[in-house]
Symmetry: C2
DNA sequence: GTAACTGCAAAATATTTGCATCCTT
DNA sequence: AAGGATGCAAATATTTTGCAGTTAC
């Protein structure tokens, strides 16, 4: 996994630093989305709060992660797949947020269905978020 | 419209106060979602910031409004339709957020398609949010 | 060595809570 | 009159910014 992490960073012209490696590692382990607070908790606040903000911002700008809409006010970030380019995402699957444990998972195997918008609306991105109880919490 | 507003408040056992009436009026006018900031702006900060927070919270608890997921960190609230009960919503349409003007509109005529979740996931609510350019901003 | 990254301090912003006063019923 | 709602003040929490020191390349 460390090789993959290094590769991801270099591919995006970012210096390979400890905090970035650790945060990327968390994303790879998570198979789902993490909020700023999740990351602080999982790193035991080893890194400065500001560093975490800036790291997430950087990953976002490079197109390495994308945000997932949530109905509460916590922004969640998830790793993009390989076919995401800078500023152009193909995050085409449904996300699931567990009301019980709070975990956000990517349901990679569930595609977002096509919907037809009324005349005049020009769609750029589609998001679909389902909440309920995840398979670990039943 | 004033009669409708009074009715809505009374139906939910809330006292009919000026701030609540005005905020409800804004929702009825908007045909879409409003954030806390939107409301402050549209009321010219006539009401205390705290009053707006508490009013939104109250409306939410009574099931008069629901939140709409967004990828930035601004919670947006939209009026529920008549068939929403306290704690049980049927907000079954797609929402559209304009990248240009920031308006969030309810596409009442576009239903959220059914998706089948993997085994073990129990869905409670479905949200679908599309962003792009709205018909006013073309 | 240089540019980029981090951590600290502090500023700016957003949200919550307590309490006295005012308004609705 | 009583209970609930509002506004103000202040406490918390969250996010952003500036800058000096450190690290990656």
């Amino acid at each position: 996994m460390q090789a993959q992490i290094d590769y991801l960073l270099k591919q995006n012209q970012l210096s390979v630093t400890e905090s970035r490696k650790r945060i990327l590692e968390l994303f790879l382990e998570a198979n789902g989305a993490l909020s700023h607070a999740d990351i602080e908790k999982k790193t035991d606040e080893k890194y400065d709060r500001v560093t975490v903000y800036r790291t997430l911002q950087t990953f976002l700008e490079k197109g390495m992660v994308h945000t997932i809409p949530t109905a509460d006010n916590s922004i969640r970030y998830a790793l993009c797949k390989d076919d995401c380019k800078e500023g152009h995402h193909h995050d085409n699957h449904v996300h699931f947020i567990c009301d019980n444990c709070g975990d956000t998972s990517c349901l990679s195997e569930v595609s977002i269905p096509i919907v037809k918008l009324p005349n005049g609306f020009k769609a750029k991105e589609f998001h679909m978020v389902v909440n309920g109880v995840c398979k670990n919490c039943r």
